[in-house]
């Protein structure tokens, strides 16, 4: 009977977590899940892009707030864009991020990921989950996730690798592109980058 009770408690814990998961626990779980899949899958390690892309799209993407990421990256030009342009920008940017993530994932070998204690007050709506990727014979690389609380749970809106924010980098890259060739030029550049990347491998 005692064991049965313990079993019941153990079984109920994941359910409770799923309802209101703390952001750091969420990132930890997804990381562990993705690493397990990558480790078992020789195709992913060999860089078979379709399988990696699927993994990114099904396991990682749902936890990102793409609309917000695109808005930050496109900055003031977002308001200048027509709804149709906004839709295309979001689509192409998403494709680019999936591509980038897939590339990084397929290079995964035997690194371990360590999470730092989360600094968070109960009423915080924006927090940073900090982690470190460790590899033998190399300096650890920090990997931080900026996250926000949404009605649908915690969502990632920026990723910082070694202190370098991906979205800030894109904001500058995109702003310069718009300066050179307008919003349509940016959409075109993104689309051709994505198409080139798809054909490239």
């Amino acid at each position: 009977m005692k064991y049965l009770l313990a079993l019941l408690i153990a079984l109920s814990v994941p359910v409770a977590l799923a309802q209101d998961t703390a952001p750091d626990v969420m990132v930890k779980n997804i990381t562990a899940e993705v690493i397990t899949i990558v480790k078992q899958d020789k195709d992913i390690q060999a860089g078979k892009s379709k399988k990696v892309t699927d993994l990114v799209e099904t396991r990682i993407l749902p936890h990102f707030n793409f609309t917000r990421m695109t808005q930050i990256a496109v900055a003031v030009n977002w308001r200048r864009a027509t709804p149709e342009q906004q839709k295309l920008l979001a689509e192409e940017f998403k494709a680019l991020l999936v591509r980038t993530y897939s590339n990084a994932l397929s290079l995964y070998r035997d690194q371990s990921v360590e999470f730092k204690p989360l600094r968070m007050r109960p009423d915080d709506v924006e927090i940073t989950v900090r982690s470190e990727i460790k590899q033998k014979g190399a300096q650890p690389v920090t990997l931080d996730y900026d996250m926000e609380k949404t009605p649908a749970g915690w969502k990632v809106f920026d990723v910082k690798v070694g202190g370098v924010s991906l979205i800030t980098n894109y904001r500058e890259d995109f702003a310069a592109q718009v300066r050179e060739s307008g919003i349509d030029g940016l959409i075109k550049a993104l689309a051709s980058k994505n198409r080139g990347a798809r054909q490239g491998k």
Partner: protein, 259 residues
């Protein structure tokens, strides 16, 4: 004058000429008034990398087993820790500095002269410091962004710190026996490039414009390093000046040429 000394002076000259030109040029991204010159050097470095550094680094990685490459990385990393300790102390980070001294001692004695990084396993983390960061910590501004021939992205402060101070303090570079020095320097460069192969390939795929992406990454990275990974949030003003969008778009609207 040896060839390497000549190259070093040449780079310094370019750097100084560049910074002088920087005072006279306006336009482009704030923080990168020298973009036209920088792009030329960037393209040159890119050609050099594709033609020589990258293929050599790929070969190096293909031929040597991971264990050997890790050993090479560790030995150079151990040598470098001495200078990292000095910079931590110069920045008043005594605890970190002493940790670095401990790292060197432990790795040299118990890690077979630095071949094995036993200090990291013992929980003594490696730090990332150089004289450019020390100057930054002391309040010296970045100065204009610079791309150095062969050495890559930098800025006026970091460039002068690197060529003027870091190189002078580098036990590999100040090696008296020139063939030994050149061999060590080349090995370290190739090993570093090999370690960066994956990261660079991901970045190349990610960027719309590689020059801008590298520049943005460098600026953010250095800022993060100066604050040891925990920089204060950029103020609105800094953000405005770093993206400079409103001004630029007014120019577009009023029909002024940008470039």
């Amino acid at each position: 004058m040896t060839l390497s000394c000549l190259i070093r002076r040449l780079v310094l000259a370019v750097l100084l000429a560049g910074s002088a030109a920087g005072c006279a040029t306006t336009g482009g991204r704030p923080g990168d008034p020298l973009e036209p010159i920088n792009r030329v050097v960037f393209d040159f470095n890119d050609v050099f990398d594709r033609a020589l550094m990258r293929p050599v680094a790929q070969g190096y990685r293909a031929v040597l087993p991971e264990m050997v490459r890790t050993g090479v990385t560790n030995v150079f990393s151990n040598i470098e820790d001495v200078w990292i300790a000095a910079n931590n102390l110069l920045q008043g980070k005594v605890e970190n500095g002493l940790q670095d001294v401990m790292r060197v001692t432990i790795n040299t004695v118990f890690g077979l002269g630095g071949l094995i990084d036993v200090a990291s396993d013992a929980g003594l983390e490696k730090h990332n410091e150089d004289f450019g960061q020390t100057l930054g910590r002391w309040g010296v501004g970045n100065g204009p962004y610079l791309v150095l021939p062969f050495l890559g992205p930098s800025n006026l402060r970091d460039g002068i710190a690197l060529l003027g101070v870091d190189y002078a303090a580098d036990p590999v570079w100040s090696q008296g026996h020139i063939p030994t020095r050149n061999t060590l320097y080349a090995t370290r460069s190739v090993n570093n490039r090999a370690n960066a192969l994956d990261a660079v390939s991901v970045m190349e795929e990610a960027a719309l414009d590689k020059y801008r992406f590298v520049r943005g990454s460098y600026m953010q990275r250095r800022r993060s390093l100066i604050y040891d990974g925990d920089p204060p949030r950029e103020t609105d003003e800094e953000q405005r000046s770093s993206s400079a969008l409103p001004i630029v778009n007014n120019q577009v609207a009023s029909g002024h040429p940008i470039r």
